[in-house]
């Protein structure tokens, strides 16, 4: 019998296991696949390459995780840091928004003098509020000042579309934020979606690696170093162990059953899988609560897909290391969300593209995240995939006409069922997201983040809570 089980060997699960093991807890990580890594593992085939099916860059890996688990010493490095955002819209000139305010103002001036003047101030305000939100999102304390609570209340009622429309004049500037507005299946016109922009600002300012970074060796290398950290601390990682059920007695978790039929008893379980999978899929009926079960019944209808193109040559449009957001405008993003919600392929999806070098032939990978997409499309899967690829290529070709001729291979990941993101979830304190109705069961993955992301922050906090709980139990 181990003290703790961690379900899922993605970055969060591995980080949680490392922290638990460092706290002297006997911990076993159960991974369904044959290699650890979760969404960061190289599982999406693109010609001769395999790339992660999840994100293509890190948003905000918690710097404390890097430091405390000594990840740099274990081999974590970044090839690109603090990547700027470049907005591509219609046939207009690319709009580059980096950390350098002078450069950003210079880029904005031809579009709108007012935006150029206000941009720095708006960013400063966003960062100030994001700093305040740390108290709620990943540190104990909550919001202390009345004016911060009022701002939170206002943002929780404000659609991102309204916020950006009232803040900026330039359509190109507004469109450049469209991808962030569509985080986790949110609609830019949904109440509270303005919080997603605060979240994006918080990510940008809190990671040592800056707004967006690419680890050396790709995202899979992050999983590798976290696995090393976990094993070095004493955690055991069991691959090919798909959990099918959690054992619960009197609303207290007692262990897990894996697909092979093995029963593993433990005093505490941390799950890095989705809230829906953990609470609705693994627990006996009714355990999670009837209202919660009802919420979990309704999956997020809108998700994110990924198309990776292996290219023989680098299109000049994507020559600069950056994240490129290709969007027509906020209104069209809202319309796209409505189409996706209805199960249809949006005519104008919003894309985030990043160019990666392979060091082999073909030499470039263009990784494209696509939002919003229907999780359960009305079209048959093949027909939907075909339409999706055609739509994305059309949008990319408008920016880089030479792209299609250079495609050597491609890989597509369709959107998957994920947790529904709600405003109460985004404004809850971290404990409410980590602790479950079952004693001893905690969420430690993206489901425990205010907005799903690979930060390992929830893992660190959940491991702390679990270790303290075990200590109390022993005492």
């Amino acid at each position: 019998m181990s003290d703790a089980l961690v379900i899922g060997a993605g970055p969060s699960g591995l980080a949680a296991a490392a922290y638990l093991a460092r706290a002297g807890v006997r911990v076993v990580v159960l991974e369904a696949e044959d290699q650890p890594g979760g969404s960061c593992a190289n599982r999406l085939a693109v010609g001769d390459f395999v790339v992660p099916a999840g994100p293509h860059a890190l948003g905000a890996l918690d710097p404390r995780v890097i430091k405390e688990l000594k990840l740099t010493r274990l081999g974590l490095g970044f090839v690109q840091r603090d990547l700027p955002l470049i907005g591509l819209r219609g046939d207009g000139k690319p709009l580059a928004l980096g950390r350098d305010m002078h450069e950003a103002r210079h880029a904005l001036a031809p579009l709108s003098q007012r935006d150029a003047e206000r941009y720095g101030e708006v960013r400063r305000d966003a960062f100030d509020f994001a700093r305040v939100m740390r108290g709620l999102w990943w540190e104990e304390g909550g919001l202390k000042r009345d004016e911060d609570r009022a701002t939170l209340h206002r943002l929780a009622l404000t659609p991102a579309l309204t916020l950006l429309e009232s803040t900026f004049e330039s359509e190109a500037l507004k469109a450049a934020h469209a991808f962030d507005c569509l985080a986790a299946g949110l609609s830019p016109s949904a109440t509270g979606s303005a919080l997603a922009l605060s979240w994006a600002a918080a990510q940008e300012m809190c990671g040592l690696q800056g707004a967006l970074a690419v680890p050396r060796g790709g995202l899979a290398s992050l999983a590798d170093v976290l696995a090393k950290a976990a094993e070095k601390a004493g955690a055991e990682i069991r691959t090919g162990s798909r959990v099918t059920q959690l054992l619960v007695e009197d609303d207290v978790v007692t262990g897990a059953v894996v697909a092979k039929g093995d029963v593993l008893m433990a005093d505490t379980v941390l799950s890095s899988l989705s809230r829906r999978t953990t609470l609705a899929g693994f627990l006996p009926p009714g355990t999670v609560g009837f209202a919660a079960a009802r919420e979990l019944e309704r999956p997020q209808p809108v998700g994110e897909g990924k198309l990776v193109l292996a290219l023989n040559a680098q299109p000049s449009t994507f020559s600069r290391p950056a994240r490129y957001v290709i969007a027509d405008g906020l209104e069209s993003a809202a319309v796209a969300h409505a189409e996706a919600r209805a199960g249809r392929m949006p005519a104008e999806p919003v894309l985030e593209a990043m160019m990666l070098e392979t060091g082999a032939e073909p030499p470039f990978l263009l990784s494209v995240l696509i939002r919003p997409l229907p999780v359960a499309p009305v079209d048959p899967p093949m027909a939907f995939a075909t339409r999706l690829i055609q739509t994305v290529l059309r949008a990319l070709e408008r920016q880089a006409p030479e792209l299609t001729a250079n495609i050597a291979a491609f890989g597509l990941r369709q959107p998957r069922v994920c947790d529904t993101l709600t405003v109460p979830h985004m404004i809850a304190d971290w404990r409410a997201r980590i602790v479950t109705p079952v004693r001893g069961l905690y969420l430690c993955g993206e489901a425990a983040e205010p907005v799903p992301t690979v930060s390992c922050r929830a893992a660190r906090i959940a491991a702390g809570i679990a270790a303290a709980g075990l200590k109390r139990g022993r005492a």
Partner: protein, 378 residues
């Protein structure tokens, strides 16, 4: 919203001299037939007959029905023997009271929930989690409550075997009609097919001459229930309608007696985490009936608040349910600006029904004069 007539509506309409009606659970019901106070008093010496067809009843059936009722209710209804019942609450995920009712075990894998306030979505949602079927049986039967010390005598006179124990039910054949006789409330309840309802009414009316039988409207029923200390969701307190809100807790309503803390049920963590128990008590008001949520003070210090209130014709004064933080406050209490006095519930129990041969059991005794009945409180 559609309004439905109960199966007894034709007879109720004929007897409703003041044409006083009200709506409950979507059904049109007589508020009173002559005077609600007279009807309530009649239940204390004879027997009254009240239409309770509007009570929400759902059947819960399926191989996992036991698991569902075990989780759903605050007491373990799954351990009931077939034919017996218990009173319980059902709570939301945070432990707030969503409803209260009587859970009846009608078969090995089937249960019946009877409540005065519907909570269709919640129960159906819970049933879906367990793959259990629920069927709304409210409109499939007509129900009459027979309340008063002469209820047993009335049943005997009508030729119905009234041997049912409290919190149990029994099926009976009655001169060609199929009936269910239960004792979940203040007296007996008779349930029948809607088509047989008028025949049942007529037969009881014909047999009730010697028992001072009279029909009672819903207002009289409310008075009798409040006097007897029976709290109803919706009438006496507002239940939670959100899945996660924390109020009202069973403690705050003084309903901890309906919660088995050792049993694992939905919302238990919230109940265990909630504050100390408050006591449900009665308050005799020396004045007009107070509004719900009136603050009760003792020497200027708040000691509780009122829930619902009624004028009690038997006690000749206003009475109110109250939740007290101090179970035995000593001294002169005030409900707002009105003097009041706390008392233990019930204010005044309804004399238990006696059958024709009974001679003094259950706290009820025959008076010296034959045919005349007096009562002692339970």
């Amino acid at each position: 919203m559609s309004l439905f007539a109960t199966p007894f509506h034709a007879r109720a309409a004929a007897a409703n001299r003041h044409n006083a009606w009200q709506t409950r659970g979507g059904f049109t019901l007589a508020s009173c037939y002559t005077s609600s106070e007279e009807e309530a008093i009649a239940a204390r010496f004879g027997v009254v007959m009240a239409d309770i067809s509007w009570h929400w009843r759902i059947e819960i059936a399926g191989i996992h029905a036991r698991d569902l009722v075990a989780r759903l209710f605050t007491r373990n209804a799954a351990s009931l023997a077939v034919g017996t019942a218990l009173e319980a609450l059902w709570l939301n995920d945070s432990g707030a009271v969503r409803g209260a009712g009587t859970v009846v075990r009608s078969g090995e894998d089937s249960f019946l929930l009877v409540s005065s306030l519907a909570d269709v979505d919640w129960i159906a949602g819970a049933a879906r989690v367990y793959g259990v079927e629920v069927r709304d049986a409210t409109a499939s039967e007509g129900g009459l409550a027979l309340i008063g010390p002469a209820a047993g005598r009335l049943l005997a006179a009508a030729g119905i075997d009234a041997a049912a124990e409290p919190m149990s039910f029994a099926k009976a054949a009655w001169r060609g009609l199929d009936l269910t006789l239960s004792r979940f409330g203040l007296g007996y309840e008779l349930w029948c097919e809607p088509d047989a309802a008028l025949i049942v009414w007529d037969r009881l009316a014909a047999a009730g001459g010697g028992c001072a039988l009279c029909p009672a409207g819903q207002e009289a029923l409310d008075i009798l229930e409040v006097e007897s200390g029976v709290m109803r969701a919706g009438r006496d307190y507002t239940p939670a309608r959100d899945g996660f809100c924390g109020r009202p807790s069973p403690q705050a309503l003084g309903l901890s007696g309906l919660v088995d803390r050792s049993h694992v049920f939905n919302g238990r963590a919230g109940v265990l985490a909630a504050g100390a128990d408050a006591s449900l008590a009665g308050v005799l008001i020396d004045g007009e009936t107070p509004l719900a949520d009136t603050v009760l003070t003792l020497e200027g210090r708040q000691v509780g608040r009122t829930l619902s209130s009624r004028y009690s014709p038997a006690l000749k004064g206003a009475v109110a349910f109250a939740v007290l933080t101090d179970p035995r406050p000593a001294g002169a209490m005030m409900a707002g600006a009105t003097p009041c006095r706390p008392v233990a519930l019930p204010f005044l129990a309804i004399p238990a029904p006696m059958d024709a041969t009974e001679t003094g059991s259950q706290g009820v005794q025959r008076s010296r004069t034959a045919g005349d009945w007096s009562w002692m409180p339970r």
